[in-house]
Symmetry: C2
Subunit: 249 residues, 2 copies
Amino acid sequence: MSEAQEPQAQSVGHQIAEEIREMIVDGRLGADDRLPGEQDLATRFGVSRPSVREALKRLAAQNLIRTRRGASGGNFVNRIGWQQAREQFEATATMLVVMGDIDPDALAEARLTLLSAIAPLAAERRLAEELTALRDEIDLQESKTSDEDFCASDVRFYRILVEAARNPLLSAQMASVIEAIQPLLNMIIYRARDRHTIAARHTKLLAALEARDAPAMIAILRDLNDYTVSLVREAQDAREARQTSKESG
Amino acid sequence: MSEAQEPQAQSVGHQIAEEIREMIVDGRLGADDRLPGEQDLATRFGVSRPSVREALKRLAAQNLIRTRRGASGGNFVNRIGWQQAREQFEATATMLVVMGDIDPDALAEARLTLLSAIAPLAAERRLAEELTALRDEIDLQESKTSDEDFCASDVRFYRILVEAARNPLLSAQMASVIEAIQPLLNMIIYRARDRHTIAARHTKLLAALEARDAPAMIAILRDLNDYTVSLVREAQDAREARQTSKESG
DNA sequence: GAGTTTTAAATTGTCAAACAAATCCCCCTC
DNA sequence: GAGGGGGATTTGTTTGACAATTTAAAACTC
């Protein structure tokens, strides 16, 4: 329907990229398959080589194909892995936070919801080495570091927690949300008291994880989320106050 | 680090695209800002216009910019919205399932985990119209339709459920997982008895949602997930058996 | 003078042709 | 037989030109 309304609205490059993408999705092109040469594709689609190149670059930007130069080179269908998928999830989430009208409350709620969801899995599957890694992060958080380091450690803490669930898809998605929330956390000025409070909750969370007590983990996560949200709100209020005083002054 | 190892490994188009992307991420370019013209960018970066065009097409493929022709046209920074984010999540997840070595069990586990996570939110926030929409889907599932229609309805059912949680980020992520799992579901040949079983569970799920009984919803979801997984496993076994007989015959 | 039509300018879209760079494969030399 | 060199193939990049599209100003009509 929409195609009929705008028959040629999309550029040739876009159309060709879409066609090749469909070929990949419905199996006509499998992983590591080699696409025809650029000149081949150009004659096949009835367009010029630069147009084909645009299409290929679009696909390359989505990590759908990789390109190698030279004889027996060409464009090959990429086998997408968890790592790449996570990167793409993160890129999307980052852009969403950076540019979109994002509601911090919704973001925090999403994080809490997802963390609560994986808590049972993590409780069941956590390894001893993850416990020590988490312990190290807590130690770092209790030391006197910069706000940025503290925040980065906080992010790492939750990433380890997520990895403990041993589900790559969940890890990839959670990582994107955790990554996305970092800019918000970076706004916060952490007072010593704040850090102590957070580190203490993390310690309790770690204990609950060690005890494989998922309900306790969820309760702590909820508590911690409320606290973080209040800090973010404080920071936002402070920022707004600064801006209004700047405008009036 | 990795950049030092391969200084010029990335093409010019890739590098320029990365630079512009950074400009967007760190705020030098805001939403709806207009980029310099292609010729301008070409001279500014010291490359030819086609190279710049490749970079722009890469960005366009990621929905970071939009392009308009004509006077006062040009390339503009896109404000990314929930809709577009969801599409990108879906594209990534779909590719992951289509091409990656994905473990169906992990996928099912992710879906169950996420659905369980949003169940409390959905129970709290569901609207009357969503209940009727779900009812309609169940009716459709009990009617005699093609397997594909049944499967599509199943997907729509869960999408409505996810929307009821009223958290756009969760919706976007969940939608991607639900979308990703569809190819797996499409493998299943639904017998009349299967359909009846599934529709009955859906009815129970709907009742629990109406009663705002999240724990009941989670129990039903878990049950339903086990059933679906068993069906998928059956389908896979059948497929494998077919292939081995094909090979030997 | 107001409204409409025409025209011109700016910008992206597409194409063509050529050369550069990288890579592989075959062949040739030692 | 082993190793290096050259040719062939393929992508990377540039130059130049023209087409298509859109805006806005200019000219024209009423």
